[in-house]
Amino acid sequence: MDIETSFDEHRVLHDLKHYLPAQAPLKDFIHHNTLHAFQNLKFHDACRTATKLWGYKTKLRLDEYRALYESGGIRKDVLRNIVSERKGQDKVDEFINKLINYDYDTFVYPRIGVLRANWESIYRIDLDQLTQPLLFRILCNYLDQGISLWAFPIGNQGFLAALRTMEKESAVSLFKKPRAHKMLVSGDLSISALLRILVGDETLYEQYLYDQQFSHQGWSGIVSVIEDQPNLLLNRKEITLHDLIIFELLLEIDALDAQFGEIWAPMTTKLADRPKLKSLLADVPRTELDEVLETWHDAFEWSYYNSVLTALQKQPELEENSSANKSFQAWFCIDDRETSLRRHLEKADPECETFSTAGFFGVEFYFQPEHGKFYAKHCPAPVTPKYLIKETETHHARKDEPMLSKLSHTLFRGWLISQTLGFASALKLLSNIFRPTASPAMAYSFGHMYQLSSLTIENKDTGDVENGLQIGYTLEEMASRLENVLRMGGLVDHFAPIVYMFGHGASSINNPHYTAYDCGACSGRPGSVNARVISHIGNHPEVRRILRTNGINIPDSTQFVGALHDTTRDEALYFDEEALSPDNLERHRKNVVTITKALDTHAKERARRFLTIPNIKRKPEQVHADVRQRSVELFEPRPELNHSTIAPCVVGRRALTKNIFFDRRITLTSYDYRTDPEGNYLFMAMGPIAPVMAGINLEYFFSRMDNYRMGAGTKLPYNIMGLIGVANGSDGDLRPGLPSQMIEVHDPVRLLVVIEHYPEIVLKVLKKLPPANYEHYLNEWMWTLVIHPETRELLMFKNGELVPFKPIPENIEKIPDWEPIVESAFRAPTTQIVDTTRENLPVFFTK
């Protein structure tokens, strides 16, 4: 890229917004690829570029890879194989010697911030410290969703307009000196005019703005997101990155005026070595160190994936559950936390059958709880639903927490409250520490929609519209949605008497990232409403009649039951049980016992990674009680470990993975190639894999790689800013990304997608995906393989083609039962990568 000779404000802001973090406010936390701005590049090129540009650390440290190699976390055979593929057989030893022994300069010298650093080095002024605290406060006050008692005056106006009005009318200025005040009040402001005062040379404007905005990427990012999607805030705010930059430039001018008077010269007049300033966004050359790190990293990923693929390929004949006497069928989300529950369920009752599909179950809508003033979206983030589902007849009153009352911050009522409720809070604290129980301050998945409420699911009159949204679905809309889900998952006959549709959600307290714990396919909300809606649809006689004409015959005796699985507490809640026939009710009671048992064992398996539950060699229900407790403890920063360790992702029949133990690392999408020879439903099934599963995986990946710059740091000192984000302490920048407690045991490996179908069909489907989705596959943001349904031959998707792939031969051990393995598994004493990698169990055959 050449240095642009003239400053094009519109283009620069547009590009800048593209690079800034794109995380929504806390209530809509949705996982996405942290480096989405570089998705047009190959994965390793993108990493290298992000490191050089912004200083992000995108790989493990060289010494960490070497330690992994020493400890066996990186396999010798895998490394040799990768090196020989890339460097040629004759160079293997030479290059491996480099990998293991060479000294490299591993310091990172990012390009960002170089220009603005001149304020410090030439002018001896710490501009960030002089401007940022006030800037952040004003921004936070303006965007605040309900913490402050005195809301931003004229907060209904745009950001800059509100500031201007305030500055014009107020007896006290926001600024120290008159110049910035005059400029703001006069309203004659343009970014380039202000930059002329500060920087001088037009060719450097662009770099200056990048330097400036990336010095607080959290705040700039949220402003950019709110500018594009103002509806993310319930209390609407009108702000643009442009406004933020104008105000920040004014603050900078003011700070310089205060220090030097109005006579200081623009920065470029004092730059001696200006020609040396490289264009910020220019291509980043690849060094030998980059090659070394890439090789190490790929070897790290394949040290695990080689076993995964070997097991998939070498397992004995697949056994399908084609029994006519299935006890029940259960559908779950493709989420990895649900996949492991399926394994326990199938263990507890071998007669059952499980499926998975994206957890919004193909029904996209806005949900309005009773008395809710707003709508909550219940489908993947990119989808914009046209439907509204309303909750009625809850007969529940929502509880308040008086200690969180804002009145305690007023002077006189605060005086009263501290002397009355103050003493009550001592008791509350006591009980919270010794007997933690649910409290109104927590996020509780079962409370999202009340069990005994009613929903408006069916639309009988298309004129029934509220705010442009149709209330409920028509019969045809219902039928097509149900058919899509069933066909995608391959459940078109052999219906069991009861089909459970399990949504999932999570429960936690003292957890600002609570929406990241819920269902990503439901925009970070519990999937209970979706599960209940799809079950209602499945039970609708008219819908069944339409489906029957399309060849799906759901027997009259079959009933769908909506349910919710709480991933933190490992509890299940069932909806509309009263609609079950007497026979099915009987069966349901039996199933509930089975499911409860599976939840117990599942909780026990999860517990092995919670070091604060020291003894897991106990009965599952005992360990489960400890696990459940975590969700209500104020002092528990890890109520669950969410998607940590997520790695392989299989799209295919359950039989393909059923007899392999993947240690809760796998995510599954039910798909049967036999019911879809053309790949039409495969296209649908692949829809959420890249944005949702790779989004989760890549966010964990990068948050783990650099928790300071791409993650949110430790959550222990978090301070909630305006209900939209977190800062690490009293003030400072917003911290997008995941807290260290969520990613510390995660092995940063890219997703490995394995699709079961004929290669030509898969290739056709992949190429049909929308470009933004396809980029993930093409640019290796995840590994993609096809497993031939008949020969189990593997092919890898590389540069738009499928090439045959053979894993290095290895022996996969067989274990009789998960329990002893889990009980005796290594428990990482630290969060060093060598320890956490060792904590992962290898791939086993279970049969």
């Binding site: 520490i433 957890n511 009293s730």
Partner: protein, 628 residues
């Protein structure tokens, strides 16, 4: 009976100290033993506290109780007693402290799980209990000062707990600065007290209202000065105007330590100090009025500021400070019991609120979802608008309270220090040699010099030159060893200055200098090691070397503590001793010493922070951004 009470009381005093000392020897990788030791300490402490309070309530009948444990130093005109005292105020603070520390320690066991500073955190927490304990049991100002000073260091350690990030370190330094001012206030009060009473006065003696009254009639100015200094210390600790702005900035540590430290216990210690010394200053209407006024101003200003806070912890911090302002008023009006009830309730409430602070996202967003009423923004114009917007902007800018300390203290010091930039390493060396030779000659020949010179002018002069050394050290940014040596030289000069006094004797000087020379030597050796490994230490910005050299960082930190006369070497007695030599009319000498006391502390802690804390300069691993 008496004996039992006394021995129980003694156990209470030593208990946290034992826990703290043991905790230093725990292996850092073992979380459980560290946590259990802390919980055991806090648990036993709570049980003892309840026993003690019950005993005092039912068998001791609310009497106050004073006893001296040991005399650290005694000469013909000076005693340093470690003395303890128990009364209603102690009982309330004891229960509050024991109850909350116990709960918070349990809370931290899991909360801090897997934090790399697990051991460091519990060490600091236990040290905090030690200091809190000393303060609430203290029977005289000297003992109280001991705890007070440790508390300042604890604050520095806990606020700067996330030492690899910029803002916590910066804020820790800021807080240390204001706390150091409070410490100086107490030190000054001790000095004046010494001259007022000519002996060590205990808190129980202050209850003799006739005696106090008589003494104050005679020495009203000293009385007012003492009270002002005590009020200064109290206002700082309780975040009252004009020092309020430190309290939101203290919210950098893990949530439970913010809760217990700044939400409750530490921030109410200012009130404790006022209650403790109330029998003294209640006779001075001016002081009573001032206490009420400060409380009133704080309650109004802090409430306004808390109204515009859009982050949860700073909002709680300011509203807590506002309530403490009201408590100040209650104390001023003599509403003793009301103040005690109010402060207990406030401490419990704020601790709880900070502990559940991360839940407000869930709670308030849900509340907003179900109860949202769009805010009716009414544009205000004219005089009302002018006032309203002005108030809003002032509140957002915290009424300039944050920059206050900078403007009145830091900037002038820096300005003077920069004027001294001319003193380079070479010229300083020859200057030190020549002038100290002159000093030694003067001392040797002091019999031949006029008395006014030896007792008044020369000591002050030498102390003043010492102050200049400290100022020079304060602004030095390039050569750490030079800066370090200047502080050592400062102490030598103070020693030189007091040698002019007849009362000065060899033992006292040895006590004073012993610890200083030791710490000076060790610190210099550490810096030398750092220079060998890292080249010349340019500490214009934070270097973060603790990442690579945690051991050297610890040694250097201890040397800093030694050199700032922290109670880890015998030298800490020295500073009190030196002060006793100064005659009451030599206010200039005392002011110089007090200023140097603040500056030495700042200079050393800043040197430590700049060299060892903050984002690491080496970019071969993850480095936090400067804005975090």
């Amino acid at each position: 009976m008496d004996l039992m009470f006394a021995s129980l009381l003694q156990y209470m005093v030593y208990l946290p100290l034992v826990g703290f000392t043991l905790s230093l020897f725990m292996p850092a990788s073992r979380e459980r033993p560290i946590a259990w030791l802390s919980i055991a300490t806090a648990g036993i402490y709570l049980v003892c506290a309840i026993l003690l309070i019950a005993y005092w309530l039912f068998l001791w009948d609310f009497h106050s109780y004073q006893f001296t444990v040991l005399t650290l130093y005694e000469s013909h005109d000076y005693r340093f007693d470690i003395s303890f005292y128990f009364d209603k105020v102690t009982a309330i603070f004891l229960f509050l402290g024991a109850f909350l520390s116990f709960l918070v320690t349990i809370y931290c066991q899991n909360y801090l799980h897997r934090d790399s500073g697990y051991k460091r955190f519990f060490n600091a927490l236990l040290l905090f209990y030690v200091s809190y304990n000393i303060v609430i049991f203290a029977g005289n100002l000297e003992t109280l000062f001991l705890g007070w000073e440790i508390l300042g260091i604890c604050s520095f350690l806990l606020v700067g707990f996330y030492r690899e990030r910029f803002l916590p370190v910066k804020n820790a330094l800021k807080i240390f600065t204001v706390f150091r001012i409070a410490d100086m206030g107490l030190l000054f009060a001790i000095w004046l007290n010494h001259h007022l009473w000519h002996r060590n006065i205990t808190f129980s003696e202050l209850l003799d209202s006739e005696m106090v009254w008589a003494q104050l009639q005679e020495h009203t100015t000293i009385g007012i000065m003492i009270s002002l200094m005590i009020l200064l210390a109290a206002a700082v600790k309780s975040a009252q105007i004009p020092f309020t702005a430190w309290i939101p900035r203290a919210m950098e540590a893990p949530t439970p330590s913010s809760a217990i430290f700044y939400g409750s216990l530490a921030s109410h210690l200012g009130v404790f100090l006022l209650l403790r010394t109330y029998p003294f200053w209640e006779h001075l209407p001016f002081i009573v009025a001032l206490v009420a006024l400060i409380g009133l101003a704080t309650s109004i200003v802090a409430t306004l500021i808390s109204y515009v806070q859009s982050s949860i912890k700073t909002q709680i911090a300011y509203s807590s400070a506002a309530q403490i302002g009201l408590i100040f008023i209650e104390v001023a009006f003599g509403l003793y019991d009301l103040a005690l009830i109010h402060l207990t309730g406030n401490a419990f409430l704020r601790t709880y609120q900070i502990l559940v602070a991360p839940s407000v996202v869930t709670y308030l967003i849900r509340e907003q979802f179900f109860k949202f009423v769009p805010h009716q923004h009414v544009g205000k114009y004219g005089a009302i608008g002018k006032l309203k917007y002005a108030l809003y902007i002032l509140a957002v800018k915290e009424f300039y309270l944050d920059s206050f300390v900078y403007v009145v203290l830091w900037n002038p010091m820096k300005w003077v220090g920069r004027k001294l930039d001319g003193i380079s390493e070479n010229s300083a060396f020859s200057f030190i040699i020549t002038s100290s030779s002159i000093g030694v000659i003067c001392i040797l020949g002091r019999e031949y010099l006029p008395a006014v010179l030896t007792t008044a002018i020369l000591p002050t002069f030498f102390a003043f030159v010492g102050l200049l050394m400290v100022l020079r050290s304060f602004t030095e940014r390039k050569n750490a060893q030079f800066s370090w040596m200047l502080i050592v030289v400062y102490h030598l000069w103070v020693a030189l200055a007091v040698t002019f006094y007849e009362e000065a004797n060899f033992i006292e000087l040895a006590i004073y200098l012993g610890g200083i020379l030791l710490s000076g030597f060790v610190g210099n050796a550490t810096l030398n090691q750092m220079r060998i490994r890292e080249g010349r230490l340019d500490w214009n910005d934070y270097q973060g070397h603790v990442y690579q050299y945690p051991g050297l960082a610890l040694i250097f930190f201890l040397s800093c503590l030694g050199l700032m006369l922290f109670p880890i070497t015998p030298s800490f007695l020295g500073v009190d001793l030196v002060f006793t030599y100064i005659r009451v009319e030599q206010t200039d000498f005392a002011i110089i010493l007090a200023l140097s006391y603040i500056l030495v502390g700042l200079s050393l802690v800043r040197m430590y922070a700049r060299i060892f804390l903050g984002p690491h300069i080496k970019t071969n691993h993850e480095i936090p951004p400067r804005s975090s």
